[in-house]
Every structure is written in structure tokens, then in C-alpha cells.
Symmetry: C2
Subunit: 501 residues, 2 copies
């Protein structure tokens, strides 16, 4: 009965076979992009519980920050890093997947579900650190996560057609698979121990949980140990090298994707609050404002100024991030850490928005200035860690930077100026707010709105210089690429002062 | 003074020139991805004001839905479409940009700022349709948007090195530019008229605002008219054709990017509510629950079940969308419209989550069942419009579909089954909820969690059949691509019943 079908199938030409492969095995690109989006949003969205903390206007904001906000902020930053780390692991794991079939996609969706739930269990643990249940819940999340990832590894190695070429063709596939499995299962093991010991002593279980941060190294050491015992040194070396290279080089495009997600969600979280709170209800308009919509909106005017100011800052920090990563060749783990910290701070912008927009008419204890100062600190930390990425890259220019961004390179100074703008501006405002009382929230937001204009003027100067020199040079070459580039270079080798002023 | 520098520059080899071009002119890819993310999040995040509407547990939910939720839901859907339309225009406009320089990037950021603010002005207009100020504010937004887009067009045409090749090399550049400018400035003109007439009569200004939906066609007609007057018919034809083709074919990858954004934000908005509301405060735990964390969490247990159920649904709808778009070659305007509607419905999932998770112990007026029914309607509409995309594509298979997805194609039936699962499931649950009282919210969420298992079983059957037939066929060919594909085909040409059961 099967014979004829068999025969029929045998006659299918190879070209058709190839197209057949595409029917159910899709390129993994979209799955990864989707995961990046979820990871970044989950990491950032945790700022809202902080931003939505009830702050009575008549309390001293400095005290509120220290006693009520700070613990929450710390939990937010920790959560952000937990998510960022699991994202790195996810990227690293899915580097073995060249094309995603249905099982991989469904498993990935399951992993996403756990990841999205992770912040809850982590926040719970952060709020009630002494409770066994909290520790156990978080551990269970990590264990399930690890098991799901292990299933992905097993599935991929059972279906070579969806596997990354480099691994598919490596002669010691099994060793690679075991190394991957080990890496993926270290966290579950640590969490199992943490969960088991939590009734006895929280301290021990937290020690195990902290060890998760070093799980990559632990995995490498373990696989080294195992291969020593089994004696197959050469293989283990290969595996460890691969393992390391996986760790170190999180694909640059993926980092950009992840960062874009954070910037995008931050930009939109701000407007969300406005749409929820600042659209007056029909009843309010009738009773409070006697149907005068202008008056109703005018009452929240400071909010809109705050919105445009904050958006401008977030947008420009993205723009700087964009220019910076355009000149990076790769991201080391240290640079990734700086990037994550910068993103975590940018995630704090909704909080800055909340605080700077809530103090309008009445002002006790100089709360207005405290709010401005906190915003300045957030912006400063976000921008300075972007600068730190560039500085780190400068230590290994050959590996990390494009030619033009290196010292003496064409865009070196221009990029440096861009990276220096926000640290300088935020620092200046902070100092002013310390010394004088003139600085109001409105002034702060106007300053925020002014900064992009600064960038724009900077660019206009660039253009103008180009045009002038160009005309002097050779009018017929106008608006051709070589022409404009010559001048670009003439300009960019000039010291930053000339550009900035 | 310039001479030596000039001389110096002339000696730069052409290879360096090329690299110079890359210094400040980046590939437009990342800017577009960032914009897609913002657009999709802005469109979706507007559901939260709806989802966060205060609903007293002791009121009749059916009445609450009709008198309090429905108007908000309508505004949400309209906002979603307004944002989606401006996104289409944005994609269409930026097709002329091959690579983004700093000015384009900054202008794009400014456009993003207006886009993010658009929902506020629109919601304001939706809440107070009779107020002149509301109409004027919305109009001003659109006008500023149009002007910014016009600036992008002018900038790009002044800097050919960042322009798309096809336009750069077309002999009637000027005509194309004018057509683009016309297209971009139609909306501002309409809005100016709307704003001007709003004091006289709202009706007239709303007529003008509705015309925005047809602005592409208006632009085409106008450019036709103008070119008629100027007599250059041939050019106008070329321009119109291009204009049309721009409209019709919004790049498939961009649609996927945009959709991913919506799915991702929806998936994470759900957990946000849990993290904000369902982590008990230290005080509550002490007083209410006598430091019994388990009891505190158990009190919200239904919320967690609701979360996992909703996430499973959103995730799988993404997975179906993913499989569907993998088999689409292009998206016509009609398909884009269906996709937008599907996404708008998926954006409604947080509302479904809210309603199905709020009714636990007490239940008045069968509110529990009403909540389930609303969720079913949302899921049904979301999934049926995905099916509608596929059906639309089937009308022009040669243009729209890959070979394997067409009627009689290898994955035609399998894809159809995938697309039919959710309409069937949601419909069934809805009918059950009408007939019997047994259906509880818990049962509904368990059903939601069951659906992915259904998909998984389906896939396992596929694999199993493959394996079996394969073994019979030729054992040595196991786990090689041709082998598995033969069977894939054998299976996929089988009727859907065989696969589904």
C-alpha cells in the first residue's frame, strides 16, 4: 500500500525538496526579534510600580525618596538585571538555532511566559526576603526556565536541519551539546539547592541564588572538570572556547534590538500616565471647571511640558546610543553591563517625569528642587554609562571600534562631543539647583527641550561649514558624495570645540 | 589658508571616501525598527485606560459594558486605527530614505514625539467631541506632523546620498518629490480647514477630519489634476503608479515588526497589573493575613491562572500570525486592514484579563459568564480576522501566497487548521456559556491553557507520522532533510481532519 506513494515521492525533484524545508521551518529571525521585544519591555515595565507610588504633596520628598522609593528602586534595578541576564542566556542559547520549527517556537513561547512571570516572583522575594515561599516560588520559575531551555537544546540536536551550520559541521557535536546542557542546567541545580535549604536558613539559599550571577563561569569550570575526568582534553578545550565565545559576543544587532525595545517602551509609558490621569472626566469638567476645557487642561499644563521635556531626553539618549553602536564592532561583557545599567536608568525616566510633573503650585520643603535633582542624577547616570561604553571600547580599539571612531579617527571627536552633552548638561543643572533657588520645574523642562535644539544647531554648523568649504573648493562637485565627504572629514578632524560652539 | 587642507583632501583614495560616507550616514534599518516599536506600543497601550475602568463588583456587568466600557472601547479602536494609519504613512514616506543621517534621525524623533502625543489629543476629542479646543488640538498635532514629514522629504531630496536608489536614478525626480510633498501635506490642509470651521460648525470640521482616511486617494487625484493642468501626463502617470505602489505594498517585514510590537506589549501589560496590584504590602500581610504569605497569594490565585491562560492565548495568536505571514508574499491594503483589526482585538486582551480575573467568590447577575463571553468575542474577532487575511490572499494566490500555502499546496491544509483553531474554540466556549451555568472563569482559563497543548499534540502527531513512514521507507535516510520532508509532504497533503484529530 505504501509502495506507490513511496514511488511517487521518490520522483519529487530536489528543488521541490528544498522548498519543502521552508514550509514549516522558518528563519529564526522573527522569533528572536519578538523575544527581544518581550525581554526589554518586561525589564522596563517594572518601573511603573515605583513611579506609581503614592507620594503625599505635603511630605518632605527627600525623606520619601530615602524611606519609601529607594528600596523599590533597588528592587527595580535588580529585576532589570535579572531579566537582562536571562536575556543574554537566551540569546546565547538560541545562537545554535538557525531556523525555528513549530516545536522550537512553542517552547520559546513557553519560555517567554516564564520570563514575563519572573519579575513578579522576584519582586515578591524582594518584598518578603525572609519568607520561604517567596524563595521557593522564584526558584521554581528558574528551574522551569532551565528545563525548558534544556528541551530546546535536545530538540535542536535531534533535528540537525534547524541547527546552526558551525555546530552542525563540528566533529564533536556531542561535547558541545553536553556543554550547552550543563550551562543551561546550572541555574536549576543552584535554585533547587536554594529551595531545599530555604527552610533551614535563608542565608545559605541566598548564597546559592547569588551564585546564579556566576553560572556561566561555573558551567565552564564544571565542563573543564568533567572533561578532565573523562580525559578528552582536546574536546573540552574546544567546548570551553566555544562556550566562552558564546558568553563574550552577544550579537551587536540583538543588543540594539533589545535597547530599542527599552527606549520605545519608556517613551510610551510617559504618555500612558497622561492619558489615564489628565483627561478630565465629563463630570469634573461640568462641576469643577464649569465646562471650560481650556481651564481644565491648563490645570495640568505642567504635565505636558514635562512630557515633551522627558520625551526629548529619552529620544536623544536613543539617538546617542544609535550613533555609539554604529561605531562599535562588538560588545564585550563589560560594555554589555554598562549598557544594561544605562538602560535601567533610562527606564527610571517615568519616575523622573512623575516627580517633576507633580509639584505645581504648592511646594513644601523645596520638593520641587529635590525632584529636579533626582531627575538630573538619573539622566547623568544613564548618559555617563553610555560614555563608559565608548571609553571601554577605546581600550581595545582594534577589536571594538570602527576605524573612524578611534583616537584620531574622523568621527572620534564628534562622537565624543555627542556622548559628553548629557553628562555636562545634567551636571550643570544639578549644581545650579544646589546653589540657587531660581530653578523651577518649568525651567528644567525647558532646558530638556533645549538640548535637542543644541544638537540640531551643532548639525547645522556642520552642514554650513561643509557648504562653504565646498563652494570654495569646486562648485561643480556640489552635492556629490565625494564632495560632501571631503568636507565632512575636514570638519571632523577639527577639535570638538569648533564643532560644539 | 584653505589651500593646504584642500590639497591634503584631494589625496584621499576613493576607498576611504566610501568609508567616510558610513561615518555619519547610518543604514535606516534601526531607525525604522525603533519607530515601528513606538508606533505599535502607542497604539496598544491605549487599552489600559479602558482596562483600568473602575467596575463595582455588585453592578450588572452587561450594563456596565454597554454604558461605560463600550464608548471607551470604540475610542480605543479608533485611536488604534489612527495610529496604524499614520504608521502606514510613515513607512511609506521613509521608503525614500535608504540611509539615515543625523537630521533625518532627529526629525524622525520629533515625529515620534508627536505620534506619541496623538492618542491624548484624539482621546480628548473622543471624550469631548463638541468642544472646539479638542478639535483644534488634534488638528494642530496632525499639522505639525505633516510639516515635519514635509521637511524630511525636502531634506532627503537635497541630499541624494541618503536617497533610495530607485528614486535617485528616476529621470523625473522633481515630479516624485512634488507628489510626495502633496501626499504629506493633504492631511495638514484638511486639518487646517477642520480647525478653521470648528467654531462655526463641528459637523463640517468632522467631515474634513474623516476625509483624512481617504487622503492617499485625494493626493493621487490632486496630483493627477495638477499634472493635467501642467500637461505633463506621462510624468504624472509614473508618479501616480509609484504613489499607488507605495500605498499598496507596505513592506512585509515592517508589518511583522509592527505586529510583534503589539503582541509583545500586550503580553507584558498583563503581568504589569499583577505586579502593581497583587503583591501584598508588608502591612496587609501582617494585619490581614497574619504573616501567612501563602494565604495572601492564594487570595489572588485566580489572577495567576488568568495570567497564564491569557498569555497562552496571546502567544499562540502570535504563533499563528507568524506561520501565516511566513506564507504571505505581500500584504494588500485590505489584508493590512484585517491585520490592524486583529491586532486591535489582541490589544483588548488585557481588558478580557481584567474582567475574567476580578470575579472570584461573589458573583452577581452572572457577571462571571458575561466576562467569559466578552473574552470569547475578543478572541473570536482577533482570530477570525487572521483567517480573513488568509482568505483574502487566496483570491490572488499568485501574487500573495507562497506555492505551498495555495489550494492543493503542501501546507495549505495545515495552515488552515491552525487558523481555524481559535475561531472554533472561542465560538464553542461562547455557546457553552450561553446554554449551561457550569462554566466558571477557572474552567475558561484552563481551556485557554489547554489550547497550546492541542497545538503541541497536533505537532507530535505530525512528527510521529513522519517517523513511522520514514522507517518503512528507508531507515538509512533517517533524520536527513529530504527524508523528513518527503513525509512532511505525505502528511500535509492529507485532509485537515486527519491532522487535527
Amino acid at each position: 500500500m505504501l509502495a506507490p506513494r513511496q514511488h511517487h515521492k521518490r520522483t519529487i525533484p530536489r528543488t521541490k525538496m528544498a522548498s519543502l524545508a521552508d514550509d514549516h521551518v522558518h528563519s529564526a529571525g522573527r522569533m528572536q526579534a519578538y523575544s527581544d521585544a518581550i525581554f526589554s519591555i518586561v525589564a522596563t515595565i517594572m518601573i511603573l510600580p515605583v513611579a506609581h507610588t503614592e507620594i503625599p504633596e505635603d511630605k518632605n520628598l527627600r525623606e520619601v525618596i530615602f524611606y519609601r522609593l529607594l528600596p523599590k528602586i533597588l528592587i527595580y534595578i535588580l529585576t532589570f538585571f535579572v531579566v537582562a541576564i536571562s536575556w543574554t542566556a537566551h540569546v546565547w542559547l538560541f545562537q545554535i538555532v538557525r531556523r525555528a520549527d513549530d516545536v522550537t517556537t512553542l517552547l520559546n513561547l513557553f519560555i517567554m511566559m516564564i520570563i514575563t512571570f519572573l519579575p513578579f516572583t522576584f519582586t515578591l522575594m524582594g518584598t518578603f526576603p525572609e519568607y520561604v515561599l517567596a524563595i521557593v516560588l522564584f526558584s521554581v520559575c528558574i528551574i522551569v526556565l532551565g528545563v525548558a531551555q534544556a528541551l530546546v537544546v535536545l530538540h535542536v540536536f535531534r533535528n540537525p536541519q534547524i541547527m546552526e551550520e558551525s555546530i552542525k559541521n563540528s566533529e564533536n557535536k556531542v561535547a558541545v551539546r553536553n556543554a550547552l546542557l550543563l550551562r543551561v542546567l546550572v541555574n536549576p541545580i543552584l535554585c533547587t539547592l536554594a529551595a531545599v535549604f530555604s527552610p533551614a536558613s535563608n542565608v545559605i539559599s541566598y548564597i546559592f541564588l547569588v551564585m546564579i550571577l556566576f553560572s556561566p563561569n561555573i558551567a565552564v569550570q564544571l565542563s573543564k572538570l568533567i572533561s578532565k575526568c573523562s580525559g578528552s582534553v582536546q574536546v573540552s578545550q574546544e567546548v570551553i572556547r566555544r562556550g566562552k565565545s558564546y558568553e563574550m559576543e552577544v550579537n551587536k544587532e540583538r543588543v540594539e534590538c533589545y535597547s530599542d525595545g527599552v527606549f520605545a517602551i519608556v517613551a510610551t509609558l510617559i504618555i500612558l500616565d497622561i492619558c489615564e490621569k489628565d483627561i478630565p472626566s465629563v463630570a469634573d469638567l461640568e462641576i469643577k471647571y464649569k465646562n471650560d476645557l481650556a481651564a481644565a487642561l491648563n490645570h495640568d499644563s505642567s504635565v505636558f511640558l514635562a512630557y515633551f521635556g522627558t520625551f526629548a531626553t529619552v529620544g536623544l539618549l536613543w539617538y546617542i546610543h544609535h550613533s555609539l553602536y554604529h561605531h562599535l564592532k562588538r560588545t564585550s561583557r563589560l560594555m554589555a553591563m554598562f549598557n544594561n545599567f544605562s538602560l535601567a536608568m533610562i527606564g527610571g525616566m517615568p519616575l523622573a517625569f512623575q516627580l517633576t510633573s507633580m509639584y505645581k503650585d504648592t511646594d513644601f520643603y523645596n520638593n520641587e528642587r529635590v525632584a529636579i535633582q533626582l531627575s538630573c542624577v538619573i539622566i547623568f547616570l544613564a548618559s555617563i554609562s553610555q560614555l563608559a561604553i565608548f571609553v571601554t571600547a577605546l581600550f581595545r580599539p582594534d577589536q571594538d571600534l570602527t576605524d573612524s571612531a578611534r583616537v584620531g579617527g574622523r568621527s572620534h571627536y564628534y562622537l565624543l562631543v555627542k556622548l559628553l552633552v548629557y553628562p555636562t548638561v545634567s551636571m550643570t543643572i544639578y549644581v545650579i539647583s544646589l546653589t540657587s533657588d531660581v530653578l523651577s520645574v518649568e525651567a528644567f523642562h525647558v532646558a530638556q527641550l533645549g538640548t535637542p535644539v543644541l544638537f540640531f544647531i551643532l548639525w547645522l554648523i556642520v552642514i554650513q561649514i561643509q557648504r562653504n568649504v565646498q563652494d570654495v573648493l569646486n562648485p561643480e562637485e556640489n552635492s556629490t558624495q565625494e564632495g560632501s565627504n571631503n568636507e565632512e572629514q575636514a570638519l571632523l578632524t577639527a577639535p570638538p570645540e569648533n564643532i560644539a560652539c
